[in-house]
């Protein structure tokens, strides 16, 4: 067994025993279920409103417009998942990434690992691959709950293309969560204190989710928690055109929500992405950048520190 495999197995075993991780994962799973319910409930309500409105149109001899919820893809039922992955999913990934290095440091085992015949790169590989698997587990959990919901609902019929899009959506969610998990590994490896290791990735996540979109034209921060409002077009103004051009390529949360909406079929017609860089490229660049940050953090990790006072 290679050193990185041993480290990965050990990291995953330690994660599996942590109550905090179990709680965060349970919260995530519960909210995936909630999002499935919300999608179903809200769609049924709009259906019922439409039925009620149809009577009125017919009674008044007016033409009946088409039902707005049947216009989109059935996958759009799960649109809240985009939001929950960007909130709880990303936060869970931060907690997992943070614990990867912090657990070793707090236990005081870093000097013991550092004195073993292995390279820092092995340490980095072990931790990053453990994160990838753990976050993969979260994405798979969301995928299973989402797929089961769609399979159970009687009025929803998915074709092979839809299933493929759903799989692509969860892969995208995995990539998004991984980005924050990697930032957390890098930050906790570099941080001088336990708190800073948790705070740095959290602040990056908060800024990208709630502040950055305000700069590129999605003015209200609470738009970030509504899958539809998150896709509002920017006001027509030179300033917003300029800010979208300059800052859009760095707006990771918007890129993810845009791609998610595109895959799940609820992207408003004709809405352009923020900035000139395609959203998928934005996501890939962020993931690569955060991967490098995590790698650098692990390579430069001070193995002499450890214990509760570290």
């Amino acid at each position: 067994m290679t050193p990185s495999t041993i480290l990965r197995r050990h990291a995953l075993a330690a994660l599996a025993r942590e109550r905090t991780i179990a709680l965060v994962a349970a919260l995530f799973a519960a909210l995936v279920l909630v999002s499935a319910y919300l999608g179903w409930s809200a769609t049924s309500t709009v259906d019922a409103i439409y039925a009620s409105a149809t009577h009125w149109f017919e009674a008044n001899g007016k033409p009946v417009p088409s039902n707005p919820v049947t216009q989109g893809s059935p996958l759009a039922l799960l649109r809240n998942l985009t939001i929950y992955i960007s909130l709880i999913g990303a936060f869970s990934a931060i907690v997992i990434g943070y614990r990867m290095v912090e657990t070793d440091r707090r236990a005081g085992v870093l000097p013991l690992i550092g004195a073993r015949p292995l390279e820092r790169l092995d340490y980095a590989r072990g931790k990053v691959s453990a994160l990838a698997l753990a976050v993969g587990g979260l994405a798979a959990l969301a995928g299973v709950v989402g797929a089961a919901t769609l399979a159970i609902l009687p009025s929803v019929h998915l074709g092979p293309g839809d299933w493929a899009r759903l799989a692509a959506f969860f892969s995208l969610g995995w990539l998004y969560m991984m980005t924050f998990g990697l930032i957390a590994i890098g930050a906790s490896a570099r941080a001088r204190s336990e708190t800073v290791g948790l705070m740095v990735p959290t602040v990056v996540w908060l800024v990208l989710t709630f502040v950055w979109p305000a700069l590129t034209g999605n003015i209200l921060p609470t738009a970030a928690i509504n899958p539809i409002s998150a896709l509002a077009p920017a006001p027509q103004s030179t300033i917003f055109d300029l800010s979208a051009m300059l800052l859009g390529p760095f707006s990771l949360a918007e890129a993810y929500k845009y791609l998610g909406a595109e895959l799940m079929g609820y992207l408003p017609d004709g809405l352009p992405p923020r900035g000139a860089v395609p959203p998928l490229v934005v996501m890939m660049l962020f993931a690569a950048g955060s991967g490098l940050y995590a790698l650098r953090g692990c390579l430069k990790l001070d193995m002499t520190k450890g214990g509760p006072d570290a």
């Binding site: 708190t195 502040v211 034209g217 003015i219 921060p221 027509q236 103004s237 917003f240 408003p268």
Partner: protein, 327 residues
């Protein structure tokens, strides 16, 4: 009459440390920045509306037509505070949680708690001092935010703001202080009670996600009008009277939706401040008297929630033996 001099002593010590603590300063600046970004982008968006209106007006006048066909945008400077309030709801809450965590970690596990608790003061006085110190900190940071917002509104809106607007901003500052003090108490309490302060912070974040984001999010998402871009009624072009009739058929659903929303203190804070500042259209331009009559329930919820949480932190005994161990 017990000697309460320990309370200001500890609160002032906390204030001194907070002033020297670069992290907290950075966090306050982050709140100011987030609030101002929202305010300034809101102002830009409003100016864009004004420019569009003026251009349309010029065009109509040039064509010799009446202005009745285009609606003039409303110019209420305080409406621009919406983004700022939302930033306080979200980012402000995070900063308050971290401040609470730091207030606990500052004493816990570093023996200063042992040094304080072997002094002639009751344990509740120590807790009260920490809570008051936190509330003072939040009040000061928010005072900066609101003072800057007032300046930006006066200069940027192009209309200026009057004494009544300032009063409304002051009321909002008070409500914001209460809201963030409650969140501070959560961060402080959990970081003090749980196995390690970092676990406390983590659980506080999880609670923040549920209370500040998820509960309002569920309520917001269950609103049928938010399920269709532009709103379901608008898309179906249903007249107002018919909308009301249809909505009556969904009273139970709406009650559940509202119930989920109001389980979150954030929503009460938002409803109260949106009314006071006239952000919600039905309160725009209304006097404070009728607004209070309408929204006093939200205000009382906010006050009692904050006092209740503070009381909970005060009443829970400190496990000094555990908290003074190195963690």
């Amino acid at each position: 009459m017990p000697d309460l001099s320990a309370i200001p002593t500890i609160a002032l010590k906390d204030a001194r440390i907070a002033l020297r603590d670069r992290f907290l300063l950075a966090a306050t600046l982050a709140l100011v920045a987030a609030a101002l970004i929202s305010l300034i982008t809101g102002t830009v968006a409003m100016r864009t509306d004004v420019a569009t209106y003026m251009a349309a007006k010029q065009q109509l006048l040039a064509l010799g037509k009446s202005l009745g066909s285009i609606a003039a945008p409303e110019f209420y400077p305080l409406k621009l505070m919406r983004g700022t309030i939302e930033q306080i709801e979200i980012m402000g809450a995070v900063i308050a949680l971290i401040a609470g965590y730091r207030a606990a970690v500052e004493e816990r596990g570093r023996q200063t708690l042992a040094l304080i608790l072997t002094r002639p003061l009751s344990n509740w006085q120590f807790l009260a001092a920490k809570l008051l110190g936190g509330a003072g900190l939040m009040a000061t940071a928010l005072a900066f935010v609101f003072a800057l917002c007032a300046v930006v509104l006066a200069l940027g809106s192009g209309i200026g703001i009057g004494a009544n607007d300032l009063l409304r901003l002051a009321i909002t500052w008070g409500a914001s202080t209460l809201y963030l003090s409650a969140i501070f108490a959560v961060g402080f309490g959990l970081s003090l009670w749980l196995k390690s302060p970092a676990s406390g912070l983590l659980y506080a974040f999880a609670l923040w996600l549920l209370v500040v984001l998820v509960a309002p999010q569920i309520g917001d998402t269950m609103d049928p009008d938010n399920q269709v871009a532009g709103g379901v009624f608008a898309q179906l072009s249903i007249p107002k009277a018919e909308q009301t009739r249809i909505k009556q058929g969904f009273a139970t659903y709406e009650t559940i939706r509202n119930g989920i929303e109001v389980s979150s203190v954030t929503k009460h804070y938002e409803r109260f401040t949106f009314a006071v500042l006239g952000i919600k259209d039905i309160y725009t331009g209304k006097a404070l008297g009728p607004i209070w009559a309408d929204k006093k329930g939200d205000a009382w919820f906010l006050i009692l929630f904050t006092l209740g949480l503070g009381g909970l932190v005060l009443l829970r005994p400190i496990r000094a033996d555990r908290l003074t161990k190195e963690t």
